[in-house]
Structures are given as structure tokens and as C-alpha cells.
């Protein structure tokens, strides 16, 4: 690559970066008014932040979505942690499989409540650095999945209780959620820029459910918590997906008739088109 080309590319990168910074400032200026509710402790600074988009629509072609978070941390902050959490915690029914003879089968059933459907953590430094900093427990504990065990509620149904049930259940649940992309620990993924600007991105997987989501930001200087911020966004089923999903639950009989009607109509049309037997 010639030095001329290299200079051109460098200028292009710098221009892109300055455009990004201007965009963040403009967005923050527009968004500060909407996010003034986070400050609860008078000693803490409020972190202005914006999520983009504010509504994620799940259409027929939905596979995944990205939600960006822009913000400005208080002066002096050198590390930051962002936690995305679904507001709704629907009851989940899980089964524990155990070996019965030669087969693996579900032998115990658990009703798990008060555990978020989605929980993603992004940080500017390794989580161990936050944990060893001596920062207040209630803010840094949220960086670990283990924290969720303080509030979860488990009821067992069927089978003999065992000492390791809760541990196996919790780790199995986390493994399941991580595999679905709903739980995620993304260490050192946030970069603090000049002026305290930061940009974080969350990947919402195909398994994301409709509902409201909260994004909490914690800014530290070493062990000292300097500021907190909170913003929200929502995920909504839209178009055909929203219509069919709602209909299948709220108007189940109508949905059932529609399902059979479509199948009969398609079958007749195909028989007319091919005029021959297709296998079933």
C-alpha cells in the first residue's frame, strides 16, 4: 500500500470517528431529558445515555438484532459496566434428566420464578478487576450470574429432592440461556473515549421474547462508584408474527380453524395444479 493511500484511509477513519462522536453528542443532547430518572443516591452522578433503537420489531424475517447504547460517563471515571436485563421474569418450567436404566429421562420438574429471560453484561475491564477493586457489593454483584440466585424462587414437583438440585438447576439454566444467546458476559468490550463517551452494543438473539428491557450503566473510578444511569427499550412482535402469535393464544379456536382452512385450501390448489396424487 502506498503512503498516499494509507494517508487517505487514515483521514477516512478519523472522519468516520469524528462523525460518530458528533452523532453521540447530538443523540445525548436529544436524549438527556428522557433519562433523568436514574439518580437515586444524591452522591452519585447521573449518566446520560441513549439506546438505539428504542423498539425492536420481530417480523417474519427476524433472526437477530443489535441494540446500541451511547452515553457519557462522569469525569474521572476509568471503568464502566453495562447490564441489560429483561423486565419480565415469566415462570419457567424446567426438568432435570437423570439416567433411568439405559435411558436419560426427565425425573424432576421445577417451577422457576423471578429470573430474567435475558441478562447480558458488558464491561470495559475484566470482571475480576471490578470484583477485586473493593467497590460496593450491590453494584458489582450484578456483574455475576450468581447474583440472580438471591432473588430466584424455585418450587419442585415430583421426584425425590437431592442436595445438588439447586446447583445443577442453576448451572443448567445458565448453560441453556448462554447457548440461546440470552445470557452473555462480554468482558472488555466497552471502550471509554475522550470526554467520557462510550458505545456499547448488545446482540439480541432469535430466542429473545417480546417485552420491556432495562439497561443499567455503572461508572467507577477504581473502587469508587461515581455514577449510574438507566434507559429502556422494548421488543415487540409485529406484523404477521404479532398477529399469529396473539391469535394462537387469545383466539385459539379461530386460529385452529384458520390452520386447517389454509391447509385444505393449499391441498386443493396443489391437486388442481398437479392433477395427480402427492404423497402424504
Amino acid at each position: 500500500m502506498t503512503s498516499k493511500k494509507r494517508n487517505q484511509m487514515t483521514r477516512l477513519c478519523l472522519r468516520k470517528r469524528s462523525v460518530m462522536n458528533v452523532l453521540i453528542i447530538v443523540l445525548l443532547a436529544a436524549g438527556i431529558g428522557f433519562n433523568a430518572s436514574a439518580q437515586t443516591d444524591p452522591g452519585l452522578m447521573h449518566i446520560p445515555q441513549i439506546t438505539d433503537p428504542e423498539t425492536v420489531s420481530v417480523h417474519l424475517n427476524f433472526h437477530s438484532a443489535h441494540v446500541k447504547l451511547f452515553g457519557v460517563v462522569p469525569e474521572g471515571a476509568d471503568r464502566i459496566a453495562v447490564i441489560l436485563c429483561s423486565s419480565e421474569t415469566p415462570e419457567t418450567q424446567l426438568a432435570r434428566k437423570e439416567r433411568v436404566g439405559p435411558f436419560w429421562m426427565a425425573v424432576k420438574k421445577f417451577h422457576v420464578k423471578n429470573i430474567p429471560g435475558c441478562y447480558q453484561v458488558a464491561t470495559s475491564h475484566p470482571v475480576s478487576a471490578f470484583l477485586s477493586s473493593g467497590a460496593p457489593d450491590d453494584s458489582i454483584n450484578k456483574l455475576r450470574y450468581e447474583n440472580l440466585r438471591n432473588s430466584w424462587d424455585v418450587e419442585m414437583e415430583g421426584g425425590e429432592p437431592a442436595d445438588d438440585d439447586l446447583d445443577v438447576l442453576f448451572h443448567g439454566l445458565i448453560q441453556m440461556k448462554e447457548k440461546q444467546g440470552l445470557y452473555r458476559l462480554d468482558q472488555e468490550s466497552i471502550e471509554l473515549r475522550k470526554g467520557g463517551l462510550f458505545l456499547s452494543q448488545f446482540d439480541l438473539p432469535a430466542a429473545i421474547t417480546a417485552g420491556d428491557y432495562t439497561v443499567d450503566v455503572y461508572a467507577f473510578h477504581g473502587a469508587k462508584l461515581l455514577g449510574i444511569g438507566e434507559s429502556t427499550f422494548s421488543v415487540e412482535k409485529a406484523g404477521v408474527v404479532g398477529f399469529l402469535s396473539l391469535m394462537s393464544k387469545e383466539h385459539a379456536l379461530l386460529y385452529a380453524i384458520l390452520a386447517v382452512g389454509i391447509a385444505l385450501a393449499v391441498g386443493f390448489c396443489v391437486s388442481l395444479v398437479f392433477r395427480r396424487r402427492t404423497a402424504h
Binding site: 427476524f62 429421562m105 430466542a207 391447509a263 391437486s271
Partner: protein, 316 residues
Amino acid sequence: MYIYLPVAEMSINVFLVVGIGGIVGFLSGLFGVGGGFLLTPLMMMIGIPPAVAAASDSNQIVAAATSGAAAHYKMGNVDMKMGLVILIGGIAGGTVGVQIVKTLRELGNFDFVIRAVYVLMLGGVGGLMFVESLSALKKHVAKTEDEGVPEDGGTSISKKLSSLFDRLPFQMQFESLGRKTTLLFPFGAGAAVGFLAALMGVGGGFIMVPVMIYIIGMPTVKAIGTDLFQIVLVSANVTLQQAARNHTVDIVLAVTLFCGSVLGAQLGARASRFLRGEQLRILFSVIVLIMMVKMLLDLILTPENVIAPVRVSGGH
């Protein structure tokens, strides 16, 4: 290209679903037997929850069987009376099956039961077909003549059974048989197949057609036409009940599958002209046995995660 399934609440590659529908449709067209019992396990393999896979497969079967039944009806291959007796049995079996599915799912053992029943069915059908087609192939090689359909066994069985059925109550004249027989047997066979349709999302053609030919003694073409007719109604009943009670029918999944299976069935029917009957059957039985081994391993091998979701109303 991905498609979001509103009831399964998951996104899946549309070409994968159409491809699976296409492969099963191709095999159906090629072998002239139902593909429903292959489709549900294939859907489970790509991550669709078993209950949604089975219920949506029933919906897909309604469409596929309708196209076949309409064509057979025009050709006069549908014995309506026999079909209706089987149908009444099918509705009774299907209704019981849907209730059992609901109870099993609440207990959290549905996945195990559906997989275990599948292993038995696939193993039984695949094994019998393999042995029968292998002996037919050997006979063919020995005789070096074409066409050696082993119908003797079936005919002798049906003759023995018809004398038994003649002594049972509820006799009725059937057009396709040209004689009277008891209602009880077609009713019982319909109930058994309806139950399987609810449990596994299969049309039941792969059991019903041999039963009608070898045991009831119907001509092959009329057995296929009548079977398709009753499958439309049994599967429609199962779809209605699964959607209304269990909320597990995904219309988007069923329609996407059907797009593939229609095209596959046409290609398969054309490809079948290049192979002899016993060659087709032995190939089919090998595919069925491979599926059986895969599902058996899933039950026996240690799972990656011993915690699994219990699905209550389709999706999370």
C-alpha cells in the same frame, strides 16, 4: 434467509425447513409411503420443540393428504363408508391421544415418550421392511424375472381373518370389498392410527395402508385413496385440537414445510420410475433405520445439559 416461527418462537433458516420438507416429500414420492413419521424427527433434529414439530406436522399432513385425496376421489378410489368408519375410530383415538399428550407434557416426560415411541416405530417398520425387501430382492435375483410382489402371505392372512370377522357383530356391506365385514376392526385400526397421529404428528398411512391391504383385504389403489381421505379428516381433527388446547400448531412452519414437500413429492414420483419396487423399499428401510439409530443414541448418550425446558404452551 431466516424465517421467524411465531408459535415455536424461534428463527430458523427457511431453506433448511423447505429442504427438510423437500427431502421427505421426495422420499414420499419415491417410495409411495407417508413421510409424516420422518418429518417430525427431522424437525426435532433441527431444534424445533417436539410438541410444536408434531402438531405442525399434522397441519402439514392435512394439506398434503388433501391434494392426494382429491385426485383419488376423482378416480373413484375412495370408499367413503370404510373411510368414515376408520375416521370415527380416528377421531376417538385422536381425542384420547391429545389428552395424553397434554398430561405427559405437564409431567415433563413428553420428550422421552415421543422419542421412545418413535424409536420403536421406526425400528419396527424399518426392520420389517428391510427383511421383506431383502428376501424379495433375493427371489428376484433367483428367478431373474421382474415383478414378484409377495402378496400371497397377505392374502392368506386376510382370508383367515375375514372368516373371523364374519363371526363378529356389527356387520356392514363395503363397496371396496364387495362383501360384508364387521365394523369393529376398521374402527379399532382407525382409533390406533388416530392415537398415533396425535402423539407423533403422523398421518399413519405407513401402518393403515398395509392393514387395509393385507388384513382387511382391500385393493391397493382403493386402500391408498381411502387412507388419504380419512387421513385428511383425522389430521384436521388433531390439528384443531392441538391448536385449540395445546397452542402448538405453527402455521408458518406448516406452510413452509409444505412448499418443500410438494416439490419434493413431484421429483420423487419421477425418480421412482428408474428403480424397482424392492430396491426402493430396501433403500427406504435403510433411511428409516438410520433415523432410528440416531434417535436411540439421543436417548442413551449423556445429554449436554441435564436441565431441559418443559414446554407448556408452545415456545417460551
